[in-house]
């Protein structure tokens, strides 16, 4: 048991050491964090071996909260899904820790950075290992906190701290759903343990339904939707994706680890963890699929025209997450997780690589100020291409296998499967296009770099390039563990590994392999054409893009300004619903009405007193007269009383 507990504890220890003694350790603090994370990686690997044979470990550490019927433990449930996540998280985390040693070198917040990073790893591990919703929520919010801290890492930059707050609050909106989901789960099933809840799903409790807004909705659906709201927040799906692009304010390793590889996939993980619940509700599944599909395309369109190298990748991340949800939505949970895994590697790679570019250009992020870098930073160039091919889904790179599994399951799923498939393909085309647009703009064409920057362009140090190469290797190979039956039958290791924990929603039947192959070919072609188009636009005749932009000014500006969603949200919610209302309520409601009433009464009594003083004229006769008046009134009472 303790070994499992150690997995999160080691990074936490790293955090404590780096955090508390950072002041004295200086840059040595990094080693504490790295040691913790790498340790966690090794333990995770052994854990992976433990569950390889399909066993599921579920143990409680201690009783956390127990009131009446509410009894929540701090405990771990380690099944195959967890094992996968553990490996992904710890691997990426370790590599990125190492990479950061070089990247963050000389930053004054060096120790702080590593402590945050280790803390993040801790919470992420708690999230994936939890055996009940509440503990999962701890990790869930914890990673949110770390992302807040790391986005705002350079807190002197207002934009950075703003982005941090934005990320946290938007996530809170999602968590609002998560919390309500948990409350509903408890009030329905009387427990928050995964095992307990899933067991109870077959029982009568799951059948009931509650009135909502006049309509009547099944409890399970409601739970699923609420949880999914949480997922959209964390995994930056419509309509809560807005925080992720801004999150690029953070240091690049952070973008790689948190906002590409791990944290943002927590939503995907949570949904697949709750697969039993979701798969009970058609509505919920469709919602997930549709939201995923739409996000995939929507984000891709924005990605087409962005000029900030990291933002392009950020939007691609949103879009790829969309794919994952699309997969989950059509019931291909393992496909979703598979894409999560591959994506983690190649997207991590891409971010780190772009980091290396930015590093080389001493902080420049605007692609319009790049170009012709391929010879100057060749390693970065190569790995970047590998990552992009993986992203574009070109055979045999990792992205190809996972994406096609999703597309195929979408295609073969009943209902609106074909529509979703089309969305996916469209997304694939755009993905290929913008990822190579990025490559061409960055590495090819003629240099547009400022001169003083130009002089000290240099390849990154080993400590950065080695992780890049490792990731590149995985981006190439990791996909092969999920070899589709259509290419090599029955060697889908990944699928088989996860098979025991997911309900079998795989529609892929053996005889339909024919169609599957054609579809694969088609999507690859689509991707290639996307790449070709990028080539013709950004290498062959570079004036064309501007002309197109002029031609379709409206559309172009709309995309460039990201559909003005941020502005709208700001206007509606941040300014309107919060600040304006608050100021009004305070100035009028509290000061004038609520407090005004109180002070008003006081003032009334005061003035009464002042007025009363005039009655006390000082004339003795008036006093006597008052007495007489009193006498008369009292005597008059005789007629009242009797």
């Amino acid at each position: 048991m303790l070994t499992y507990a150690l997995i999160p504890i080691l990074p936490f220890a790293g955090f404590l050491i780096a955090g508390l003694f950072g002041k004295y350790l200086k840059e040595r603090a990094a080693y504490a964090a790295i040691a913790g994370v790498v340790g966690a990686f090794l333990l995770s690997f052994s854990t992976f071996l433990d569950v390889l044979d399909g066993t599921i470990i579920n143990e409680n550490l201690y009783s956390w909260i127990s009131i009446g019927t509410l009894s929540v433990n701090v405990g771990f449930q380690i099944d195959q899904l967890t094992a996968v996540m553990l490996l992904v998280v710890t691997t990426l985390s370790s590599l990125i820790h190492i990479y950061s040693v070089g990247y963050m070198h000389g930053d004054k917040g060096y120790a702080r950075f590593f402590s945050y990073l280790a803390l993040f790893t801790f919470f992420m591990l708690v999230l994936v290992m939890a055996n009940n919703f509440l503990l999962m929520f701890v990790g869930w919010e914890g990673v949110g906190l770390c992302s807040y801290l790391l986005i705002g890492f350079w807190y002197e930059k207002k934009s950075a701290s703003d982005a941090g707050v934005k990320a946290f609050v938007v996530n809170r909106v999602g968590d609002f759903g998560f919390v309500l989901g948990m409350l509903l789960i408890f009030s329905t099933f009387g427990t928050l343990d995964f095992a307990g809840v899933f067991a109870a799903l077959s029982g009568p409790a799951a059948k009931q339904s509650i009135a909502l807004l006049g309509g009547n909705i099944s409890v399970v659906t409601l739970i699923a939707l609420l949880l999914f709201l949480g997922a959209t927040g964390k995994s930056a799906q419509l309509p809560l994706y807005v925080w992720l692009p801004d999150a690029m304010e953070g240091p690049t390793p952070v973008s790689a680890l948190i906002h590409a590889a791990t944290m943002v996939t927590a939503g995907v993980f949570m949904v697949s963890r709750c697969a039993p619940i979701f798969s009970l509700s058609e509505t919920a599944m469709t919602t997930v699929a549709v939201v995923g599909g739409l996000t995939a395309v929507f984000a891709a369109t924005i990605g087409l025209v962005q000029n900030d190298i990291k933002r392009v990748i950020a939007y691609s991340t949103i879009s790829q997450l969309g794919y994952m949800f699309l997969g989950l939505g059509v019931g291909a949970f393992s496909a979703g997780i598979f894409h999560l895994t591959t994506h983690a590697f190649f997207k991590g790679l891409l971010f780190l690589a772009s980091g290396s570019v930015i590093h080389a250009l001493s902080g420049e992020q605007d692609m319009r100020k790049m170009g012709a870098l391929k010879s100057k930073i060749s390693i970065t160039h190569v790995v970047f291409i590998i990552g992009s091919l993986a992203l574009a889904g070109i055979f045999p790179f990792a992205g190809f296998f996972s994406k096609d599994e999703i597309l195929w399951s979408a295609y073969s799923s009943p209902g609106m499967g074909r529509v979703l498939w089309l969305l996916g393909v469209a997304g694939a085309f755009m993905t290929a296009f913008y990822s190579f647009r990025l490559i061409y703009l960055t590495f090819y064409g003629e240099s547009r770099i400022d001169h003083e920057v130009e002089h000290h362009v240099h390849e990154s140090p080993k400590v950065m390039t080695v992780p890049l190469m490792i990731l590149a290797f995985f981006s190439l190979t990791i996909g092969w563990i999920g070899m589709p039956g259509a290419i090599l039958p029955n060697v889908n290791l990944f699928g088989n590994f996860l098979a025991p924990i997911f309900p079998h929603a795989e529609h892929a039947a053996a005889e339909s392999h024919g169609i599957e192959r054609w579809l694969m070919l088609f999507s690859v072609l689509v991707a290639l054409s996307g790449i070709r188009m990028a080539y013709s636009l950004y290498v062959k005749n570079t004036s064309l893009p501007d002309r197109i932009a002029d031609r379709y000014k409206g559309a172009y500006n709309l995309l460039l300004s990201k559909y003005k969603i941020d502005e709208i949200y700001n206007y509606l919610f941040v300014d309107g619903l919060v600040h304006k209302v608050a100021t009004f309520l305070y100035k009028v409601g509290d000061v004038k009405i609520v407090d005004g009433a109180v002070n008003g009464i006081a003032r009334l009594i005061g003035t009464t007193s002042e007025r009363g003083r005039r009655i006390q004229t000082g004339y003795v006769q008036q006093y006597a007269f008052t007495m007489g008046l009193g006498l008369v009134v009292l005597v008059g009472l005789y007629y009242v009383l009797k």
Binding site: Y619, Q621, Q622, F625, G628, L629, L631, V632, V635, G636, Y638
Partner: protein, 169 residues
């Protein structure tokens, strides 16, 4: 019958001189009307067989108190009030109020029932009335009598202390 006539006479003069007293502009006149009033009240007392009280009324009230008033009034030779300022400026209210209170009191009193009804024989103790009065006073009302003496003493002390011209200070 004759008593009634006498009573009515006394009552009439009492009320009349009371009103005059209250309304006179010159305080000295008021004092003189007061004197008249006291005399008639004394008469009333006689009518009620309280001869001793009648005497006290004359001696103390008319003889002492009123003369003291007169003395002081003259001592301070207060000029008579100007027409405007005879009554203070609320007097219409006061008039209305006076009627009100008079109405109330008189009404209640006249509708009141007194156990002592008029039918019975009034006291005929004229000769030893004083004696029994004295006996009563010195036995039953000993304590009040003593208190009265203290009251007078206080009055005396107070009057002297307040009114005497300051020696120094």
């Amino acid at each position: 019958m004759i008593n009634k006539v006498i009573f009515l006479y006394f009552a009439a003069v009492i009320l009349a001189s009371a009103i005059m007293m209250v309304t006179r502009r010159n305080p000295i006149h008021s004092v003189l009307f007061m004197l008249l009033l006291f005399f008639h009240i004394a008469g009333l007392f006689v009518l009620l067989n309280a001869e001793f009280l009648a005497a006290v009324q004359l001696i103390v009230y008319a003889g002492a108190i009123l003369i003291l008033y007169l003395f002081v009034v003259m001592l301070l030779n207060v000029d008579k009030e100007s027409i405007a300022a005879r009554a203070n400026r609320y007097w219409p209210w006061i008039a209305a109020f006076g009627i009100l209170i008079a109405g109330e009191v008189v009404l209640l009193v006249s509708r009141g029932i007194f156990p002592a009804d008029e039918g019975q024989e009034p006291m005929r103790l004229a000769s030893d009335g004083v004696l029994s009065l004295g006996t009563e006073l010195y036995t039953k009302y000993l304590v009040p009598f003593e208190i009265a003496s203290v009251v007078l003493l206080v009055g005396l002390v107070g009057a002297v202390m307040l009114a005497k011209i300051k020696t120094k200070e």
